[in-house]
């Protein structure tokens, strides 16, 4: 399927106050695609969005829109529209006027504006909200107004900057589905920025993982999840046990003191590698049948499964299992060849993947500080 490249970034770099936010970014975005820029706070994903919208200009490099450079085109002349993180609705205008804002600037006849706004309100499920004050809407409703206000201009590309971050969990899930449907219905290219990996996996056609101002991996959600290129991607997307290993031969990986069969080949003999094993791919078996043996140090009930932390030779594994094991139990683990993913060593190696300091509370704390940083 050949698709037109609607946006291209070529050798883009951008610094703020001497700090490099984006470092030589090269990418293209295909028409009618739902692409997600995924990365932790401060990785440069929002800056990338603002460059495309025209609120920032790159220090180096070229931004192409449908093949033409748009570095010097001001935001009001670009056919992209943005949905801002905190909506940025105009507080002095009601819902109707907020949505009609772009059309009024184009000086369309009143009748046409009325009709289009009505259609838009129907699209975002806000029929009858025309005269409402935007400040008195709930978060989810404000979100819809913001989307309608952007979509009514029929942009080629819609930029969404963490649009669901301020909504509660249930609403967020509903909006994810709705956004995806809207994108399919309208055929507009969505560029979606988020730090929520689950959101990225469930909505996107293509996911772009960004860290430290550089693109780590571009691919479909399944590629990114199943075949992460380095320890950063493996850790950031889902839960992962990341171990040091050695490829003793093609299809043979040695880690944790055991040589496993795997499905990867093409490495040099005895090349040091990073091994990723997803917690759900590990089976708990009796000790004597286990490829690895370890002691259970912690068990958390998660509803669908138990999250079990197992100490194997000092490395804490995380395992998800529907069967209960008690802390202190001596258990065996079995891993299928296709559950083992081998990655080349990168500068992210040994930074992630051990669950020795793992706790839910800690994760929440770091989430909070992330929000404050933004």
């Amino acid at each position: 399927m050949k698709q037109e490249k609607v946006i291209q970034l070529q050798n883009i770099s951008k610094s703020f106050d001497g700090e490099k936010i984006l470092n030589n970014i090269n990418l293209y975005i295909r028409d009618k695609e739902f692409i997600t820029l995924l990365g932790p706070s401060g990785c440069g994903k929002t800056t990338m969005l603002r460059l495309i919208a025209g609120f920032e200009t790159p220090d180096e490099g070229t931004i192409l829109f449908e093949g033409k450079p748009i570095n010097d085109v001001p935001p009001y002349q670009r056919s992209v529209n943005t949905v801002f993180q905190k909506y940025a609705l105009f507080p002095h205008l009601n819902v109707f006027e907020n949505i009609a804002f772009g059309l009024r600037l184009k000086k369309l006849p009143e009748e046409q504006i009325r009709k289009q706004v009505k259609d838009m309100l129907a699209l975002v499920n806000l029929k009858g909200f025309e005269r409402r004050n935007v400040e008195r809407l709930s978060g989810g409703q404000q979100q819809r107004v913001a989307i309608a206000r952007a979509l009514i201009n029929h942009p080629k590309v819609l930029l969404l900057d963490e649009p669901l971050a301020a909504l509660d969990l249930k609403l967020r899930k509903d909006m994810q589905v709705e956004l995806k449907n809207m994108q399919k219905r309208t055929g507009i290219t969505f560029i979606y920025v988020t730090h929520d990996q689950e959101e990225a996996l469930s909505m996107s056609d293509t996911v772009m993982v960004i860290a430290e101002g550089e693109i780590q991996q571009i691919g479909t959600p399944t590629d990114i999840y199943n075949e992460p290129v380095n320890a950063f991607v493996a850790d950031f997307i889902g839960e992962s046990n990341i171990l040091d290993g050695v490829m003793t031969a093609d299809y043979k990986a040695t880690f944790s003191g055991h040589t496993f069969d795997c499905v990867d080949s093409g490495f040099e003999k005895n090349e040091k590698v990073d091994i990723v094993v997803r917690p759900e791919d590990v089976d708990v078996v009796p000790c004597e049948r286990g490829m690895l043996v370890g002691d259970v140090t912690g068990v958390t009930f998660k509803g669908v499964h138990y999250e079990i932390i197992v100490d194997i030779r000092g490395f804490k594994w995380m395992i998800q299992s529907t069967d209960y094991v008690a802390p202190g139990d001596h258990i065996g683990l079995s891993i299928d060849p296709d559950a083992i993913h081998v990655m080349k060593k990168s500068r992210f190696s040994n930074m992630f993947g051990d669950y020795s300091s793992f706790s839910d509370e800690l994760e929440k704390l770091s989430d909070l500080s992330e929000e404050e940083n933004e």
Binding site: P75, E135, D168
Partner: protein, 281 residues
């Protein structure tokens, strides 16, 4: 305890407003007796309206108040706009502090220093009347600017900083974005700033006293010069009118402000109630 609270509050209010109430009362006195209320009449108001000097002064005061308020609103608002876009924190802080000096400075110092400057510059330019309407206008505009700035710049801080970007994004030129989005958001601050500047100019005596010439007198200066001879109740009448005028303006500005506030509070309550409902369900 509650009754004591109430009594205390009433007492304080009484102490605050008793002088004004007495003044208003005696402006309706039928004789010039300052000790005894001899009967209700509009005599002193009629007397006041017959005095050409008082009217000229009233006209001068209004012209000065309006023009200085307009000027300071323009300059103060522009200052708030400019300083908001400034990135350097230290320069910004410095300029903000300097802007506030005319407000902190004792009036007498501002007055004398301005007079000195006007006379100095006037002499250099070889002018006859060194102090006139223009010097007064400059003086009033100067001390009014911080009041406007202090009312407008918080409105910018309250405004979502992405609003101007959203306007650009939807097709506004930067100028359109300002007039269609930013100006409406800060407008209530501009109005409040204007009203405060107007009343400040209206009741200023000290600075005006130093910066006005003989051919342009404002009401406060006129009243002061009248009291030098003998205090007659037509001054009470004049003061009463000024109080009523300023009171009306204040009530108006409070009403426009509180309407917004009330709407916001209502919206907040609604949201909280909805959240509580959701939490229960």
């Amino acid at each position: 305890m509650k009754t004591i609270n109430k009594i205390y509050t009433v007492l304080i209010l009484f102490m605050l407003y008793a002088p004004i109430l007495v003044l208003m009362l005696f402006s309706f006195n039928s004789t010039s007796n300052t000790g005894v209320f001899t009967g209700f009449s509009f005599y002193w108001y009629r007397e006041l309206f017959r005095s050409a000097a008082a009217f000229a002064a009233l006209k001068n005061t209004l012209v000065l108040a309006i023009s200085s308020a307009v000027l300071s609103t323009l300059i103060g608002t522009m200052a708030a706009i400019g300083l908001r876009k400034m990135r350097n924190k230290y320069v910004k802080g410095l300029i903000t502090s300097v802007t506030n000096i005319p407000m902190m400075n004792p009036d007498i110092v501002t007055g004398i220093s301005m007079m000195l400057l006007f006379v100095f510059v006037g002499t250099m330019l070889g002018q006859q009347d060194k102090l006139n309407f223009w010097t007064l206008l400059i003086a009033h505009t100067t001390f009014n600017i911080p009041y406007v700035y202090l009312n407008v710049s918080p409105k910018f801080q309250q405004m979502d900083k992405h609003l101007p970007e959203a306007a650009l994004d939807l097709g506004c030129t930067p100028l359109q974005a300002f007039f269609k989005v930013e100006l409406p958001c800060i407008f209530s601050g501009i109005v409040t700033g204007f009203i405060i500047a107007f009343t400040m100019s209206l009741d200023d005596f000290v600075i005006s006293y130093f910066c006005s010439g003989s051919d342009f007198q404002t009401l406060p200066i006129l009243i002061y010069s009248m009291t030098k001879k003998e205090v007659t109740p037509d001054i009470y009448a004049l003061s009463t009118l000024m109080i009523v005028a300023i009171l009306t303006l204040l009530i108006l500005s409070n009403l426009s402000g509180s309407k917004e506030e009330r709407a916001k509070i209502r919206a907040l309550r609604k949201k909280r109630a909805a959240a509580r409902k959701e939490a229960k369900a």
